[in-house]
C-alpha cells in the first residue's frame, strides 16, 4: 500500500514537471514571437496552446494536491476538493469567455482611436503598430477646418436635436397628461389607435411624408428634420404609465387648494417623473445625432446637413489620389462623432439603460 502510493507520487512529480516545462516553453516562445514578429503565422495558436497547457498544468496540480503532499486524506474531503476545483474551472471558463467577448466589443473603439492619430505612412505598414509611433494631431484640426466642415455639422445637429427634443417633450407631456389624468369621450379608443400605429414600419410613412414635405416646400430646411418626428407614441405611452403611478389623492388635494391643472402638472407631475423625462431627452438627442436615412433624403445641403450624413458622404481621399481613403482622417472624424455619445453614456448610463429596458416591455 505504502509503496504504490510513493510510486504514484513520483509519477505525479514527473508528469507535472513535464507539463510545467512544456507550458513554460510554449508561453515563452509565443511571447517571443509576439514581441519580435507579431504578424508571424501561428503566433496566435502558440499563445493559446501555451495558455491551455498552463491551465491544464495547474488543474493537474490541484487535482493531485493530496498525493503530492503525501497526505492520507479520506475520500470525502478529496471529493469535496474536486467539486471545488470543478467550480473554479467553470469560473475560469466563464471569465475567459466574457473577457474574449469584451475584447471583441472594445477592439473597434481601440482601433479607431489609435488609427486616428497615426500618419498615413504608419497606417499603411504591413505589420500594424498596436501603439502609434508618432502622434499626428493635425488630423483632428483638419476635420474642423477642411472640406468636412465638422463644426457646421455639429451646429446643425445640435440645433435640430435641442429644438426637436424641447418641442417633443411639450407635446409628449401634454398628451400623456390627457391620457393619464383627464376623462374624455373616446379616450380608450384613441389610445388603442395610437398604440396600433406603433406596429407599422416607418418606411411606409416615409414615402408619403416625402411628398408632403415637398408640397410644403420644406425640403432642405430644419423643419423637415424636426416636425415629422415630434410625436412618438412610445414616449407618450411611457410617460402615461409614469403619470398613472402618481396617486390621484395628490391631484384632488391640489384641486381643493385651488391649483390649476397646468400648475399641478408643472409643480407635481413633471418633477415626480423626471427620470422618465430625462430618458426621453437623452434618447431623442441621440436619435438626431445618429439619424441618417431621412436627413440624407430631405436635407442634404451644407446649411442643414446632419453629422452622420456628413461623415458618411464626405470624401476622405488622400489628396491627389482619388479613390484612396485617408483612413486616419476618417477615423479622427468618427472619434469626434463618437466621443459625445460616449460621454452621454458615461454620465447617463442609468437613464439610457432604463429607457431601453422599458422598451423591452412594450411587446
Amino acid at each position: 500500500m505504502k509503496r504504490s502510493e510513493t510510486s504514484a507520487r513520483k509519477i505525479c512529480i514527473v508528469v507535472m514537471g513535464l507539463f510545467g516545462a512544456l507550458a513554460a516553453v510554449m508561453l515563452l516562445t509565443a511571447i517571443c514571437i509576439f514581441c519580435l514578429a507579431p504578424a508571424a503565422k501561428w503566433a496566435g495558436f502558440c499563445l493559446i496552446a501555451g495558455a491551455v497547457v498552463a491551465v491544464a498544468f495547474l488543474l493537474f496540480f490541484a487535482y493531485n494536491l493530496g498525493k503530492f503532499a503525501g497526505e492520507n486524506e479520506d475520500a470525502i474531503t478529496a471529493a469535496a476538493r474536486r467539486q471545488k476545483i470543478k467550480k473554479v474551472l467553470i469560473y475560469i471558463g466563464i471569465y475567459t469567455f466574457l473577457t474574449v467577448i469584451a475584447i471583441t466589443v472594445l477592439f473597434p473603439f481601440y482601433f479607431m482611436l489609435i488609427s486616428s492619430v497615426k500618419t498615413v505612412d504608419e497606417y499603411q505598414l504591413a505589420t500594424p503598430t498596436l501603439w502609434p509611433r508618432e502622434f499626428r494631431w493635425s488630423t483632428y484640426a483638419a476635420a474642423f477646418t477642411g472640406d468636412l466642415h465638422l463644426g457646421r455639422l455639429f451646429l446643425n445637429t445640435v440645433i435640430v436635436g435641442v429644438v426637436s427634443t424641447l418641442l417633443s417633450l411639450v407635446v409628449t407631456v401634454l398628451s400623456a397628461y390627457a391620457f393619464a389624468r383627464l376623462e374624455f369621450r373616446g379616450k380608450n379608443v384613441l389610445f388603442a389607435l395610437l398604440l396600433a400605429t406603433m406596429m407599422i414600419p416607418g418606411e411606409l410613412f416615409t414615402v408619403t411624408n416625402y411628398i408632403t414635405v415637398s408640397a410644403f416646400h420644406w425640403l432642405h430646411t430644419f423643419a423637415v428634420l424636426i416636425v415629422p418626428f415630434l410625436v412618438s407614441v412610445f414616449y407618450i405611452y411611457l410617460l402615461r404609465q409614469n403619470f398613472m403611478q402618481i396617486p390621484n389623492e395628490l391631484y384632488l388635494a391640489a384641486k381643493v387648494d385651488g391649483t390649476s391643472d397646468l400648475k399641478y402638472l408643472w409643480k407635481v407631475m413633471i418633477p415626480l417623473s423626471a427620470p422618465t423625462l430625462i430618458s426621453i431627452t437623452i434618447l431623442k438627442m441621440m436619435g438626431s445625432w445618429n439619424s441618417y436615412m431621412w436627413p440624407q433624403l430631405v436635407a442634404n445641403d451644407t446649411l442643414h446637413r446632419l453629422v452622420t450624413v456628413g461623415i458618411r458622404q464626405a470624401d476622405f481621399s488622400i489628396s491627389g489620389q482619388p479613390g484612396m481613403t485617408d483612413f486616419p482622417a476618417q477615423m479622427a472624424a468618427i472619434v469626434l462623432v463618437t466621443i459625445p455619445l460616449l460621454l452621454v453614456f458615461i454620465f447617463f448610463r442609468k437613464y439610457i439603460m432604463r429607457g431601453v429596458s422599458r422598451s423591452g416591455i412594450k411587446g
Binding site: 503566433a43 466574457l98 472594445l106 383627464l182 376623462e183 436615412m293 489620389q321 477615423m331 463618437t338
Partner: protein, 326 residues
C-alpha cells in the same frame, strides 16, 4: 359618481392638450398610411410625374385627373431582374443568419453574466457600449478594419488590414473581405459580424433582465435533486426565459427586415463593394432609393415590406404561443 360629473368638464381641455399630437399624427402618420396604400395601387404614378414633386402633388390631389387602379407598381417591383429581388434576397439572408447567431450568443453571455458577481457591472457596461454608438460611424470603422490598404488603386496592398493580420496569427491567409473583386459571401460575412456586434447589447439587456427575475427557488430545488448544469439550463433557464427569448427573436426579425444603416455604414451609399454597386442592397435601401424618382414603386415595396414583417411577426407569435412558457 364624481367621474360622471367630471367628464363633460374635462372633454374640451383634454382635446386641447391632445391637439398638437393629433395634428402631427394625422399629417405624418395617419395620412401616410392611407396615401401610401393608395399610391401603390395607382398605375400611372411613376417617375415622369414625380420629376417635379410640387406639380406632382397637385396632380395627385386633383380629382379631375384620373389614375387607374392596378397592380402596375407591384409588377414593376417584383418582375425578374429587378433590383428589388436582390434586395429581398439579401435582407432575408442577413436576417436568417444574424437573428439566431445574435440570440444564441446573447443568451450565453447573459447566463454567464448572471452567474458571476465580481466585475459583473464592468462587463455589463462594456457589452452595452455598441448600443449607444452611431451605427454608420462604427460601420465605417469596421470597414477600415476589414479593408486592405494600398498606396495607389492598382498596386498590391501594403497592409492586408487588421482583421487579416489577426487571422494570420492563426495561420489563415488574407481574405479579400470587401475590396474590389471581393466575393459575395465575404461581404455577407463582414455584414453578419457587424450586425451581430451591433445587435448584442439590446438582447443581452433584455435577457439578463429576464434572468434576474427568475425565482431562485427553482434552482435550489434542482440543486437538491442533483440536476446537472446542462439540465438546469435547458429545463429551467430556457423555459423561464422563453417570453424574453420570444420578444428578442421577434424584434430581431423586425429589425433584420429593416436592415439598412449597417450596410450603408460599411459599404457606403453604393450598397456594395467597389465596382459592384447595389450588390448588397436591402429592402429599406430599395425603398429609400426609389422615393425621389418613383414613389409608386417605393410605396409598393414599402407595402410588401409591411406584409412580410406582419406575416413573420404573426408566425413568431403563433410559434411562441405553442412553445413559450408563461
Amino acid at each position: 359618481m364624481s367621474k360622471t360629473k367630471e367628464k363633460p368638464k374635462n372633454n374640451l381641455r383634454a382635446w386641447l392638450y391632445l391637439t398638437p399630437a393629433i395634428v402631427i399624427l394625422l399629417v405624418f402618420t395617419v395620412w401616410p398610411i392611407i396615401n401610401t396604400i393608395r399610391i401603390a395601387f395607382l398605375c400611372r404614378w411613376d417617375s415622369n410625374l414625380a420629376a417635379v414633386v410640387g406639380y406632382d402633388y397637385q396632380t395627385a390631389m386633383n380629382p379631375n385627373i384620373h389614375y387607374q387602379f392596378g397592380f402596375n407598381n407591384f409588377v414593376n417591383v417584383l418582375s425578374a431582374g429587378n433590383s428589388f429581388l436582390t434586395a429581398l434576397g439579401n435582407t432575408m439572408l442577413l436576417t436568417v443568419l444574424t437573428v439566431p447567431i445574435s440570440t444564441m450568443l446573447a443568451l450565453l453571455i447573459a447566463v454567464a453574466l448572471n452567474s458571476i458577481k465580481p466585475l459583473k457591472k464592468v462587463f455589463q457596461t462594456i457589452f452595452f457600449l455598441p448600443y449607444v454608438t452611431n451605427a454608420i460611424a462604427i460601420g465605417m470603422v469596421f470597414a477600415a478594419m476589414f479593408s486592405m490598404v494600398r498606396r495607389t488603386p492598382t498596386t498590391d496592398p501594403t497592409s492586408v488590414g487588421i482583421i487579416n493580420n489577426l487571422f494570420g496569427l492563426f495561420g489563415g491567409s488574407p481574405v479579400n473581405w470587401m475590396d474590389r473583386g471581393s466575393s459575395y459571401w465575404a461581404n455577407i460575412a463582414v455584414l453578419v459580424i457587424y450586425i451581430v456586434w451591433n445587435a448584442l447589447p439590446f438582447k443581452i439587456l433584455v435577457l439578463l433582465g429576464g434572468l434576474q427575475s427568475v425565482n431562485k427557488q427553482y434552482y435550489d430545488a434542482a440543486k437538491v435533486d442533483g440536476a446537472s448544469r446542462w439540465r438546469i439550463f435547458w429545463r429551467i433557464t430556457v423555459p423561464m426565459l422563453s417570453p424574453m427569448i420570444a420578444y428578442v427573436v421577434i424584434t430581431g426579425f423586425i429589425g433584420g427586415f429593416k436592415e439598412y444603416t449597417s450596410v450603408v455604414g460599411i459599404f457606403g451609399d453604393d450598397m456594395g463593394p467597389y465596382g459592384k454597386p447595389g450588390r448588397l442592397d436591402t429592402m429599406v435601401g430599395f425603398i429609400y432609393n426609389s422615393i425621389p424618382h418613383n414613389q409608386g414603386k417605393a410605396s409598393a415595396a414599402a407595402l410588401i415590406l409591411f406584409v412580410i414583417i406582419f406575416a413573420v411577426t404573426m408566425i413568431n407569435l403563433y410559434v411562441s404561443k405553442k412553445k413559450v412558457h408563461y
